[in-house]
């Protein structure tokens, strides 16, 4: 903005720039409105959630959060939170291990059917989740694993989220081969080469994988909805969805307080790792 005063001869350009900033600010307000609304509503007294036209509450109703901390269906929020964390954490570990292993094979090793298998892996990225959901459910049902966390975590250890395999393959292909070749000449096999050379260099892609896995698993609803039905095993997302049926307006304050709590980890991850997230998203489109 300071450039405006000095560049008197380019005034039309500067005005254009101001208009651009104003436009972006307005867009920003519209985009952020639902989030601000959520935050202020979570602090409104029950009587104001529906009736009041004000965005801001008349006074801050912290008891909404106190009620939210008590949880839902007699399950405390700490239980829900640790359930969510367990699933998301397990998924992160599973995805990072299994996807980086598969990616190394695709990016660096030679084996039979590599081309067709890679093509198949790409196709599974686009495969609609629901096409395999029902038989997967039946398999886990036969194994007696429905209403446990296994169906939610185990698939991640088997690299079923091919998007991340692809992401890591793309990253590994960009790494210089010289280090590995020198190591191989020194007698370093593929295993040591992977753990000592490639894996440390792949860290940015692994961090991107970890964060996206965490956020997507944290937000996931459909899989949790069909596999978990013990309120004891519920996640924050499932607990929130039990508010969906209730039309009682007195529950709105605590419901939105809980919504804020459920969004907090994502917001914190976003603030801490926004670079990785935005750039990971950008590169996925260009290299594809």
């Amino acid at each position: 903005m300071t450039a405006i005063s000095t560049a008197t001869d380019r005034k039309p350009v500067a005005w254009g720039r101001i208009a651009l900033h104003v436009g972006c600010l307005v867009a920003l307000l519209v985009v952020l409105y639902p989030l601000v609304w959520l935050l202020t509503t979570s602090l409104k007294p029950a009587s104001e959630v529906i009736t009041s036209l004000n965005l801001l509450p008349s006074h801050l109703e912290w008891s909404n959060y106190k009620t939210a901390l008590d949880g839902v269906n007699d399950v405390s929020i700490w239980r829900l939170l640790s359930n969510s964390l367990l699933i998301a954490g397990g998924a992160v570990i599973g995805n990072v291990i299994s996807c980086s292993l598969a990616a190394y094979a695709f990016a660096r090793l030679r084996f039979r059917f590599r081309g067709p298998l890679f093509a198949f892996m790409i196709v599974t990225i686009m495969l609609p989740h629901h096409a395999i959901l029902i038989p997967q459910y039946i398999i886990f049902n036969q194994l007696g694993l429905v209403n446990t966390y296994w169906p939610l975590i185990l698939p991640k250890f088997l690299a079923t989220e091919a998007f991340f395999v692809f992401l890591i393959v793309q990253f590994m292909r960009g790494l210089p081969r010289e280090l590995e070749e020198a190591a191989r000449i020194d007698g370093c096999g593929p295993f040591r080469s992977f753990f000592l050379i490639v894996l440390p260099l792949t860290r940015p892609a692994l961090i991107t994988t970890a964060i996206f896995t965490f956020i997507w698993t944290w937000n996931d609803f459909f899989t949790q909805l069909i596999y978990l039905f013990d309120p004891d095993k519920f996640t924050l997302t499932l607990a929130l969805s039990s508010f969906v049926d209730s039309s009682s307006q007195s529950a709105f304050g605590p419901m939105f307080a809980m919504s804020v709590i459920a969004l907090l980890p994502i917001v914190l991850f976003f603030l801490a790792f926004q670079r990785f997230l935005v750039e990971g998203m950008a590169s996925s489109g260009l290299k594809g």
Partner: protein, 314 residues
């Protein structure tokens, strides 16, 4: 297993060319399969086998408790000829895709173009506009949407039409706007694509007297078309599978008057609420084929409108 074969420490880079290959090819191939084993296991047991099983189940009557009972094409004929709710869900999903995807991509493109030439604050806006793409899939935001567009909610207060959620003609638009709100992810991809267009192209065009609009049509649009194509395919596939917001807005029922009964919601209802697993499997296979067909059509059409810079050199 790798340490046993380390040769005497004579290998220096200078002698690399004369050093024979230590490892037979077969052993390296074996190593590859070790790395691949989790993925192979997952691809077989959790993708290929389930797909085959669901194809089989789609020809059966199966309720999870009694063994599947072969009924031939009956699920499919019932779906296409006797189930008005099925067609309702097809139409709802198509409406949703046709509303949400173009609006979302258009907004993403406009914002990316605006940010492209911005000097200060670009990184900030890019991150801020991207945030909804991470938050929007959550139940929290779906609940916010239900309330914001509800009777007495902020949208009702602003427009005074009694909220959208309870109106069959409007409820799907509210769900679609949640997708549009998440325009940040395609916007980031557009922006990255825009920044890869060589500045010389614009300079040369400006020298030749091309105006801004002309430059946009003749340089930006063709150079950006691969990225636009990628976003279009990705967002269309995702939009066909929308579930959480429709579930939250309608309490899992797809109402009012089935106006938010998207395909996956009806699939969930048939399979997991009504326990008609055979019928739901048939629905899943039709969804798979439709998404495959739509993707194929997009790919085919791309030949006429997607421009790859390297082709021009040939």
């Amino acid at each position: 297993m790798t340490t046993t074969e380390i040769p005497a420490p004579t290998a220096r880079p200078g002698r690399a060319a004369t050093t024979p290959k230590h490892r037979p090819k077969r052993e390296r191939e074996g190593a590859a399969w070790v790395f691949l084993s989790p993925w192979v296991l997952g691809a077989c047991l959790l993708t290929v086998v389930p797909m085959a099983v669901s194809l089989y189940l789609s020809f059966t009557d199966y309720n999870l408790f009694d063994p599947p009972h072969w009924i031939g094409l009956r699920n499919y004929t019932q779906m296409f000829t006797e189930d008005p709710r099925y067609w309702r869900s097809v139409v709802t999903t198509l409406e949703y895709v046709v509303i949400a995807v173009p609006l979302q991509l258009a907004l993403a493109l406009v914002v990316a173009l605006a940010l492209k030439s911005m000097k200060g604050g670009k990184a900030f806006y890019r991150s801020a506009f991207y945030a909804p793409s991470l938050l929007g899939a959550s139940m929290s935001i779906a609940l916010v949407w239900r309330q914001v567009f509800n009777d007495g909610g902020p949208v009702d207060n602003a427009l005074g039409n009694g909220g959208w959620i309870n109106k069959p003609g409007w409820s799907l638009l509210a769900v679609a706007l949640l997708t549009v709100w998440q325009f940040g992810a395609p916007m980031v991809i557009f922006l990255a694509g825009l920044q890869q267009i060589p500045a010389e192209l614009y300079e040369a065009a400006a020298v030749d007297g091309a105006g801004k609009w002309r430059q946009f049509l003749s340089i930006t649009v063709p150079m950006l078309s691969p990225v636009l194509f990628f976003n279009l395919v990705l967002q269309t596939i995702q939009a066909f599978q929308v579930f959480t917001p429709a579930f939250a807005v309608s309490g899992g029922k797809g109402g009012p008057a089935d106006s938010t009964l998207v395909y996956t919601l009806y699939l969930y209802d048939r399979g997991f609420v009504a326990s008609h697993m055979g019928y739901a499997s048939a629905m899943a296979w039709v969804l798979l084929l439709v998404i495959g067909a739509v993707t194929a059509v997009l790919f085919r059409s791309s030949r006429s409108w997607v421009f790859y810079a390297s082709e021009g050199d040939r």
